[in-house]
């Protein structure tokens, strides 16, 4: 059983390393990222051996094929991770940016400057590529990464962190810039969540159960990510061809991710002309419709009755809840009641409907005449993304490098006193 002392000892080393990382220049950090990328490729066979241990254990434990695929590394996937590190090196350094700056009437110069958060704890599930991805983003933003991957990827993660840590040291950075939390048991996570004062923030990445556990039990501040019960609302004034394209894209293009749509709301004024057509298209794509009324939807095995649970479910599959509403306000009320605050789209040509919809919701992103699938750090041009925040404090929506920073006020005077 992992002890609190073991976790605090490692977290303390992350904290000491954070003090060394904070003042580094962009050039120093980028050189380390390239060193890490090269080291990963050079260590491919060692990493693959470690990964094969995890895969064998996973097969023995009866892991599903999908899980095994997410766990599996290959020379190509390792090259992909290395390229990810090089890409991060190419991004601007968020540290040192002046967020606000002005001179007060008394001559004091006030500068609000981006600084690292410090120690970033990340708790995540199977994919070992998150290990490299998170380490790179933390390093670039001047933070140390304290990683707690899943037990099923333990050998892979240990090998990866060993390579990254050694490469960091070779580039003149502290080896503790990237560390694994000791242990694979539940206590290991618990002690990390209690390490307030040593760890500055925890970002959970994974399923709803993982995130709920961290949010409810961590006394270290948490950034909640990833649950997405997204809606598309087709307004009375919608271009119905555009609406069909947006609904299809939002639901079908990649149903397993958080920015795919889970509920379609259709204004009653266009329901008769829109629902039969779009339902057929969705059925053709294999989507099961969970409907509040069978009136306008083709019958068949892919049409079922919706219950309340459908309005709140993030299917992450080829399922879509469908409801007819009588107004923008009813759509807003439905979304506020059942949504997760991730992304909602409106299809409409009516500026007043658009303004009402967008100003009355309480979500991280509102898409106007665009697919929900655009809520993404890559699509937003951030170059990298640590996750999509669905909470309101600190960062909301896709989180890039600036969202992995804090700020400090640097105030310069000439003997100023009050």
């Amino acid at each position: 059983m992992t002890t609190e002392q073991e976790v605090r000892e490692v977290a303390g080393r992350s904290r000491a390393a954070a003090a060394e990382l904070a003042p580094l220049s962009r050039a120093e950090k980028d050189a380390a990222l390239h060193e890490m990328a090269d080291a990963l490729v050079a260590a491919s066979s060692d990493v693959l051996s470690a990964n094969s241990l995890d895969l064998a254990a996973g097969r023995a434990a009866g892991l599903a094929d999908g899980m095994l695929d997410r766990l599996a590394l290959s020379p190509e996937r390792i090259e992909g991770m290395a390229q990810g590190l090089r890409d991060v090196a190419g991004l601007p350094d968020p540290i040192g940016a002046v967020v606000r700056g002005y001179t007060l009437p008394n001559g004091l110069e006030v500068r609000q400057i981006r600084v690292p958060l410090g120690v970033v704890g990340i708790i995540y599930e199977a994919r070992p590529n998150v290990t490299v991805d998170a380490a790179g983003l933390c390093l670039k933003s001047g933070n140390t990464a304290l990683l707690r991957g899943s037990a099923s990827a333990y050998h892979s993660n240990t090998a990866l962190v060993g390579v990254l840590s050694e490469a960091a040291a070779k580039a003149g950075l502290p080896a503790d810039a990237v560390q694994l939390v000791p242990g694979t048991d539940r206590e290991s996570v618990t002690h990390l969540m209690r390490a307030r004062g040593l760890v500055d923030v925890i970002i959970p990445r994974g399923g709803a159960g993982l995130i709920k556990n961290v949010v409810e039990n961590s006394i270290v501040p948490v950034i909640e990510t990833g649950v997405g019960n997204c809606h598309v609302y087709v307004d009375a004034a919608a271009d119905l061809e555009m609406a069909a394209a947006i609904v299809m894209n939002s639901k079908v293009q990649r149903p397993s991710v958080c920015n795919s749509a889970e509920t379609l709301l259709v204004h009653s004024a266009v329901a008769a002309s829109f629902l039969p057509t779009v339902s057929s298209l969705l059925h053709e794509a294999g989507v099961t419709l969970h409907v509040d009324s069978f009136d306008l939807v083709p019958e068949g095995p892919l049409t079922v009755a919706a219950a309340d649970v459908d309005w709140e479910t993030e299917y992450n599959s080829l399922d879509l809840a469908v409801k007819v509403v009588d107004s923008v306000d009813e759509a807003v009320a439905h979304i506020r009641r059942w949504g997760s605050g991730h992304t909602e789209a409106i299809v409409s040509s009516d500026v007043r409907a658009i303004r009402r919809f967008s100003s009355r919701l309480d979500s991280a992103a509102v898409m106007v005449n665009a697919s929900t699938r655009f809520t993404d750090g890559g699509e937003f041009g951030f170059g990298a993304e640590i996750g999509i925040s669905t909470q309101k404090l600190h960062a909301r929506g896709p989180m890039g490098l600036p969202e992995m920073t804090s700020t400090t006020y640097l105030v310069t005077g000439d003997g100023h006193v009050r």
Copy 2:
């Protein structure tokens, strides 16, 4: 005993009111603030009667004179609170500000826009003026205020919230824009801290015990405020007259507040010329010095030996810990080990020393040749302040109206799909 159901019912009403406040214009909010100010003045005698009940109960319970003074209202103090509301009405509205905005290569227009947090819970101690102050700042930033003052101010707070809520309704806002959390027992606080999903953030304002309780037990996100163990470091290259003025101002001008200095660090190269003089000045002002060495400090009843506890204590009184260090790095290491991350000042003419000091600390504010007392929303020109955050997420340092907001992405396309 206050039940969870009672607190959740009231929080639910705050949440419903938040949906109505969010889309309001600045004019509507400012009109309500003026209505509240006028109503407060008009209701002076009722508020003072309620306050006299709290004062009588406080005297009967043996409250110290200082506490009773903080609890006491007067026509002048009520007028002051009303003026505070009018001042907040005069500040710019943070809501709707475009934080970032750009057009992507595919033509999608991305706008990151300030929106309210939603329901702001504030847990605070004796002063009833916080009730009005917090309600005004919340309303201006489009948030509903859910207030949990101390039991000792219960009658005063009930009267104040009654007046504010009625005035809000008169101005056409929801009456639930300002509410008190039901109950004065411990359970009332506990249920508030568990109301995740209904309450968006809790800001504790008060002593270290209150803040620790909230930070460790709340599953609603918390913004930690107020603990300040601030340092002044007098460098080898300091102008010693300036240094003496800054030390005196940082310690003596208002020792009870969080941005006053608690520890003086002096470089050994100037200790012999600086310490005897500044010590005499501090002694004359009644400051007790807790010293790591008696060598350079005048003897007497105001000079005592420092122990480790002195390095970590926020005295909030005429006490100052004093230590001689041999380098900027030693000063930084001392502050990182013992400080609270609030404000640290350096007095130096050496740009390299200043750069090293400011880039290696981990505090909300660094003052260069200026008093620690300048870390303050009013001094920074914010016009109002809800507190000084000493945490790194969301807001750090003095928190004005923009720090009481979240953001949302409004993304506009023309049928864009991926």
